[in-house]
C-alpha cells in the first residue's frame, strides 16, 4: 500500500504544479497586456491618432507612424500574396512529389527560420544600397514581403489541401484543363483559408521592428512617395522607450499596437470559424 500512496502523492503534486504552471502563463499574459493598456489607454484620443509627432515624439500624436505602418504592410501584402499563392498552387496542384518540389520546400523551410535581424541586414544591403532604393517604403515593404512569404505559402497550401479531391475530379471530367480546374473549382473555395494566411502576414508586418528600422529608416515626416523613408508604430514605440523620450507617448503607442494586434487576431479567428462551419 505504501507504494500506491507514493504514486498517488506524486500524481497530486504533479497535478498541482501543472495547474500552477498553466495559471502562471495566463497570469503573465494578463499582466503584460494589463500593464501597457492601463497606462496607455488614457493617452489615446482622436488627437493622438490624427496628429503627427512633434519634438521627436514628445508631443502630438502618431499619425505618421500609423501611415507608415499601413504603407509598409500594404506593399508587403501586395508583393507576398501573389508569390505565396502561386507557389502554393504549384506545389500542391502541379508537382506534389518530385525533386523540384523538395528543393522548393527546403527553401521555404529555411526562409521561415531566418531571424528578422538577418532580413534587416539583407534588406539594407540589397534594397537600400545595392538597388539604390534608399531607406524607403519600397525597401521596407519588399523586405517584409520576403519575411512573410513562407507564412502565406504554408497557409495557402493548407487551404488547398482542404478542398476535397472530388471537386477537382468533377471539373476534369467535365473537360476542364488544370488551370481552369484550379481557378474555378479549387481557389474560390479555398479563399477563406488563404485570407487567414494574409491576415497572419499582416500581423507580422505590423509588429516587425528590426527589419523596418534597417530598411525604412525612422523619419517622422509623413511620407510622400514610395521612396520616402518612414517610421512604423512599433519602431516609434521602440525609439520612444529606448531613448527615454516620453514614457507617456510610448505607453500610448504600445496600447495602440496591442489593440490592433488583438483586433486582427480576433478577425482572423472569426473568419476561420466561419470557414470551418461553412465547410462542415
Amino acid at each position: 500500500m505504501k507504494i500506491r500512496q507514493t504514486r498517488y502523492l506524486t500524481q497530486m503534486v504533479a497535478k498541482i504544479l501543472i495547474w500552477i504552471a498553466a495559471f502562471f502563463t495566463m497570469a503573465v499574459m494578463a499582466l503584460i497586456i494589463f500593464q501597457v493598456l492601463s497606462e496607455g489607454l488614457p493617452v489615446l484620443s482622436p488627437g493622438f491618432f490624427l496628429e503627427t509627432p512633434r519634438s521627436m515624439g514628445r508631443e502630438g500624436g502618431i499619425l505618421s507612424p500609423i501611415i507608415g505602418t499601413i504603407a509598409l504592410t500594404v506593399v508587403a501584402i501586395i508583393v507576398a500574396t501573389p508569390l505565396g499563392i502561386g507557389t502554393a498552387i504549384f506545389l500542391w496542384e502541379y508537382t506534389r512529389e518530385g525533386r523540384i518540389s523538395r528543393i522548393i520546400r527546403f527553401g521555404i523551410g529555411c526562409l521561415a527560420g531566418v531571424p528578422s535581424i538577418i532580413f534587416g541586414l539583407f534588406g539594407f544591403v540589397f534594397f537600400v544600397i545595392y538597388l539604390n532604393m534608399g531607406w524607403s517604403i519600397l525597401s521596407g515593404g519588399l523586405a517584409l514581403a520576403a519575411m512573410i512569404l513562407p507564412t502565406v505559402i504554408c497557409t495557402t497550401e493548407e487551404a488547398l489541401k482542404a478542398i476535397p479531391y472530388s471537386f477537382r475530379e468533377v471539373s476534369y471530367s467535365l473537360g476542364g484543363t488544370k488551370w481552369q480546374t484550379v481557378t474555378r473549382a479549387v481557389l474560390p473555395n479555398a479563399l477563406p483559408g488563404i485570407f487567414t494566411g494574409i491576415i497572419l502576414g499582416i500581423c507580422r508586418s505590423i509588429e516587425e521592428t528590426a527589419v523596418v528600422i534597417l530598411t525604412a529608416g525612422s523619419s517622422l515626416i509623413i511620407p510622400t512617395s514610395l521612396f520616402s523613408p518612414v517610421r512604423t508604430m512599433s519602431v516609434h514605440f521602440y525609439i520612444l522607450a529606448r531613448e527615454g523620450i516620453s514614457m507617456e507617448m510610448a505607453y500610448g503607442t504600445g496600447a495602440t499596437l496591442i489593440i490592433l494586434v488583438l483586433l486582427v487576431n480576433t478577425i482572423a479567428n472569426w473568419l476561420l470559424n466561419r470557414y470551418i462551419r461553412h465547410r462542415a
Partner: protein
C-alpha cells in the same frame, strides 16, 4: 442492321504501379444501348470506366497496354485532346458531387469551361440538360438556389444534367444509385431508359437486380478479368461460365 461499334476495347491491361487491375480486356460497346459492367468489388470495373475517358491519367504512376477506340480513334493517341475526349465521354460518380454553386451554375460549369458565355445560350443549354435529366420540373423555379440543398436523388440527376449540358456521346455511370432510396433509384433508371435513345450508356450497377432491370447487354468482371459478356437476359438465365452463374445466383458477391 449493322451498326459500327461505338467503343472497342482491345487487349487492354491496366496497372496501378505494379499491381495489375485489368487483364487483357476485349469488349465492344454498341451505340445507343445500355451496357452494364457488373461483378464483385475490386474487379476493375471502375478502373475500366475511368480509363474510357482517361480520368485515370490523373492518378500517379499508372500504366496500360492495349488500346481503346472511340468511333475508330485511339483515345490514347498523343494527338488527342483530353478535354475534348472528356466532353464526348462524360462520367457520373457514385456519390453525388455537386459543386458548391447554384443549380444553374453547376449545369453551366462545363459549357463555360468550353467558352460559352452568352447568357441566352447558357439558359437554353441548362434548360435542355435539366429536361433530359428529368429534373427541370422540380428545379425550374429555383435555379439559383444552392445545389447542396437538393435531395440525393436530385443531386445525382443534377450530375447527369451537368454532363448532358456538354452534349456528350457516351455516358459513364459508376454506381449512380448507391446511397439513394428506391424512389430516387427508380427515377434515375427511368431517366436512363429515356437517355439511351440518344446516348450510349455504360453503367456499373449497384446490384445484380439493377443490372437485369436496365441493361441491354452486360459483361461480368471478376478480379480484373472479363469472364463473360452478352445480351442481359442470356447472362442471367443461361450463363455460359460457372462463375457468372454463381455470382448471379448469389452464391458469392
Amino acid at each position: 442492321m449493322f451498326k459500327e461499334n461505338k467503343i472497342t476495347i482491345k487487349d487492354f491491361s491496366f496497372y496501378y504501379q505494379s499491381i495489375q487491375a485489368l487483364r487483357d480486356i476485349s469488349l465492344d460497346i454498341r451505340p445507343q444501348e445500355i451496357f452494364v459492367i457488373f461483378g464483385p468489388a475490386r474487379s476493375g470495373k471502375t478502373t475500366l470506366l475511368k480509363s474510357l475517358n482517361r480520368l485515370t491519367d490523373l492518378i500517379f504512376g499508372t500504366t496500360h497496354t492495349g488500346t481503346i477506340f472511340l468511333d475508330g480513334l485511339d483515345i490514347y493517341d498523343p494527338k488527342i485532346s483530353l478535354t475534348h475526349l472528356r466532353r464526348r465521354v462524360g462520367m457520373v460518380f457514385d456519390l453525388p458531387t455537386p459543386l458548391p454553386l447554384s443549380i444553374f451554375d453547376n449545369v453551366a460549369y462545363g459549357p463555360k469551361l468550353k467558352g460559352t458565355i452568352q447568357k441566352r445560350r447558357l439558359n437554353e443549354i441548362v434548360e435542355k440538360a435539366l429536361r433530359s435529366a428529368v429534373l427541370w420540373e422540380e428545379v425550374k423555379d429555383r435555379l439559383h438556389a444552392s445545389a447542396l440543398r437538393l435531395s440525393g436523388g436530385q443531386q445525382q440527376r443534377l450530375c447527369i444534367a451537368r454532363i448532358l449540358a456538354l452534349e456528350p456521346e457516351v455516358l459513364l455511370l459508376d454506381e449512380p444509385c448507391s446511397g439513394l432510396d428506391p424512389i430516387s433509384t427508380a427515377s434515375i433508371e427511368e431517366t436512363l431508359n429515356q437517355l439511351k435513345k440518344e446516348y450510349t450508356i455504360i453503367l456499373i450497377p449497384h446490384n445484380v437486380q439493377q443490372a437485369s432491370r436496365v441493361a441491354d447487354r452486360a459483361a461480368f468482371f471478376l478480379n480484373g478479368e472479363l469472364i463473360e459478356e452478352g445480351p442481359v437476359y442470356k447472362m442471367f438465365t443461361r450463363p455460359r461460365d460457372k462463375r457468372t452463374e454463381d455470382y448471379v445466383t448469389g452464391k458469392f458477391g
